[in-house]
Assembly symmetry: C2
Homo-oligomer: 215 residues x 2
Amino acid sequence: MSDHERGGTDGGGRRVRVLLADDEHLIRGALAALLALENDLLVVAEAASGPEALAMARAHRPDVAVLDLQMPGKDGVAVATELRAGLPACATMIVTGHGRPGHLKRALAAGVRGFVPKTVSAQRLAEIIRTVHAGNRYVDPELAADAISAGDSPLTAREAELLELAADGAPIAEIAARAALAPGTVRNYLSSAAAKLSAENRHAAVRVARERGWL
Amino acid sequence: MSDHERGGTDGGGRRVRVLLADDEHLIRGALAALLALENDLLVVAEAASGPEALAMARAHRPDVAVLDLQMPGKDGVAVATELRAGLPACATMIVTGHGRPGHLKRALAAGVRGFVPKTVSAQRLAEIIRTVHAGNRYVDPELAADAISAGDSPLTAREAELLELAADGAPIAEIAARAALAPGTVRNYLSSAAAKLSAENRHAAVRVARERGWL
DNA sequence: GAGCGCACGTGACAAATGTCAACCGGCCCA
DNA sequence: TGGGCCGGTTGACATTTGTCACGTGCGCTC
């Protein structure tokens, strides 16, 4: 993959070394080009998947990792979690197309310092990279508001787990088998989950939970 | 990038006028910047939603409209359809994150001349814009292969319609009311659709149909 | 025009699903 | 220590859903 690292000509101080990870080449390339216009930023590595992002991070030790939420292999939050452990000096931030409230919560729990939708401008993104690099946090106000209004998941661990198993439309019997539970028990959890989400049935419940990012 | 002489040709000639429509500012802006590097392309308008794209197209009369598939208001195919009617001189192409086979079919039926995933490079995109502007068609080979292997939808119009109504997990009674049909009839169509898609039940059927782009 | 295939539409019946009341065990607090 | 509360677990029962057999009408072929 491309390696734009240029030796020491950084004029004034050291530039902020950035890792870009996004599976859509078009966007990643375009982003790299735009960030290159900023004098104090330097894109040192690019990756198209989660594992590749990790490898690149280890090889190039960036100051800030800009990760797409949805990538093949590992998603952005998973990468951030491993980065936190393996390369604590590297700040992480997530960029996402359509952010769900639950993702934000998960990301913050993983130690991510920035969370922005792809609707921001490149200018703004550059500023946010600086903010994050300075040790501060930045969360898109709209996403934050959504997350707050959506609140915490009312589901118990078991309910969420069974809802997950129900997500692909499998019949109760199959879910029961996969969870090693009696069918009645499964029905009960799903019923309870649906009630908490004020959904008509488990399928609608799955939809609601997904929307809120609780799944 | 390079100073590659581009189709040198219309020295002083007219550039290809391009409309960019994508709801993600980051990507749209970045794309505009990259396409600006091409000597023979000129981004004359940008839009962040379906309706805005139409308005922009009417105002600026571009040669090629590059449309994101998923946008607020109207999706890319809907915009392409209206463009075809209102501005026949304008070629349309769709750019999409994760393309489903059915979308491609729908797009081609709407007169779209290019269909590419966002994993292509900007360089490649520029070439494709030229291809489309020259009156030719371009479809990403991988997406085309998927579409062919997925084949046509086996669903009848009625089945697809009811499956659509069932998509949000509504109970049969509600679907029946919305479709002005007897509940038994609704069950029958959905059952038939599920059988054709070899799905366990209507919810799984919705998932399968969505995946294949038949919904 | 008769026969055939296909999509539409319906109701009866069986199977799957959702609702309810109940039991058990751990935890907190008086 | 005992009681109340919460989450996990289960089976009985009513409702919803899926399956089946049936009838209708349209367009095609022979």
